[in-house]
């Protein structure tokens, strides 16, 4: 193992331990690592956006003859008018373009791509069911979908039949959230195992080269 590699491992180990130190309490090492992490993440985005958006989507096509792309470029620059209170209203125009396009896409795709296919899939479970177990599962899914949607329906007070269905909905939601919680915990624990393995195997492993 070369000296550079050992230095590299020690730098990573320092920042790993500095970030873990927050588990005890806030301290200068953690804040140093936290701010470096925030800065590096921001810097990473700058280079990425500059290359993939500004150069590849705007500058290169403009130089290639698509001169009309100066318009979105100008609109993008108008976003920076937010820094000046006198002309900050100008940033509303590019924002309106973004909101308008997004709304136009969402209005149709949300209904066509999500609502109808999900409803179709729920009904199809009954069509493709074979035997009691399949019908039970299909009924469970149908009741779950309806009760979940009713739980999030706030236009009427949750009393009577609506209240009972909403109560059933919250039980379904809790089971689903529990499943997600379990998955999230497993994901985080596997990351923790990865970092611990790095510290024990790689970092402590360098001691034999140093000592």
């Amino acid at each position: 193992m070369s000296g550079i590699e050992i230095l590299q491992i020690w730098i990573i180990a320092f920042f790993t331990l500095a970030l873990f130190s927050f588990l005890y309490k806030d301290n200068p090492f953690y804040r140093l690592a936290e701010n470096i992490f925030a800065g590096l993440t921001t810097g990473y985005q700058v280079s990425l956006i500059w290359d993939t958006v500004i150069i590849q989507k705007l500058w290169d096509p403009m130089m290639g003859g698509q001169w009309w792309l100066f318009l979105p470029g100008l609109l993008g620059l108008m976003m920076f008018s937010r820094f000046s209170p006198k002309i900050s209203w100008m940033s509303r125009v590019p924002l309106a373009v973004v909101m308008g396009i997004t709304a136009g896409i969402f209005l149709t795709t949300q209904l066509h791509g999500f609502v109808l296919p999900q409803m179709q899939a729920t009904m199809n479970t009954f069509v493709t069911a074979k035997g009691f177990a399949d019908y039970f599962l299909a009924s469970l899914i149908a009741v779950g979908v309806i009760s979940t949607m009713i739980y999030f329906y706030f236009s009427h007070e949750h009393v009577g039949v609506l209240g009972v269905t909403a109560k059933l909905g919250i039980w379904f939601i809790m089971i689903s959230f529990g499943a997600h919680f379990g998955y999230t915990v497993m994901g985080r624990v596997s990351l923790l195992i990865g970092r611990t393995q790095f510290l024990i195997e790689d970092w402590i492993g360098t001691f034999s080269y140093i000592l």
């Binding site: 790993t16 873990f20 792309l69 309106a96 396009i101 689903s176 499943a179």
Partner: protein, 220 residues
Amino acid sequence: MRTTLPLAVAFITGVVFVITFFLNEESAIVGGISKQLLDWLIIIGGFTLLLGVVSILRVSWQSVERRKEDWIYKLITILSVLVMAIPGLLPESWSSLFGRQEGSIYDWLFLNLQAPMMATMFATLAFYIASAAYRAFRARTAEATILLVTATLVMLWRVPMGEAFLNLFSEEIPGLINRYIMGGVNLAVQRGIIIGAALGAAAMSLRIILGIERTYMGKS
């Protein structure tokens, strides 16, 4: 002008995409316009992210300039941004250390600092999740109990040792968890949430296109 122009722009761009959905997207005019507008969206989105970066730098620099509390950390943030961004912005033709390719400063910083720090940040959340689970358990409500029992079953099901433990009671348990919790209740709730959120998003989109929803413009 300050309100009408943005509203008109949102209406026109929104309507273009609604019309595109109903007409032939492959046609030269309709398909061309919608494709151009999608590129516009990406470009303006890129500038918006850069605006965020400039804003972070501006706020941090103001703290440094006025020597506010913890200004030294703000200076570290600014330096970290510059150290990561500048080598990535410089052309590869100048040096193999510049640009974003393998072996560059940008690549080294990402692999050896940014990625391990991000993994560590998320790993620390394991402890906070455990703490949250303990507090939820102490709530002693039926809902909290359901959540924790399901979470425990899923966690056991996802690791070989846990699965072996569940098999001690019945070898059918892992299969039942997969079929009825993941493929039944969880699927149903996800569908319910997706349908609800999609209906909400469609309704909100219509409000934006028609100019009823104006909060994105901020204070007038």
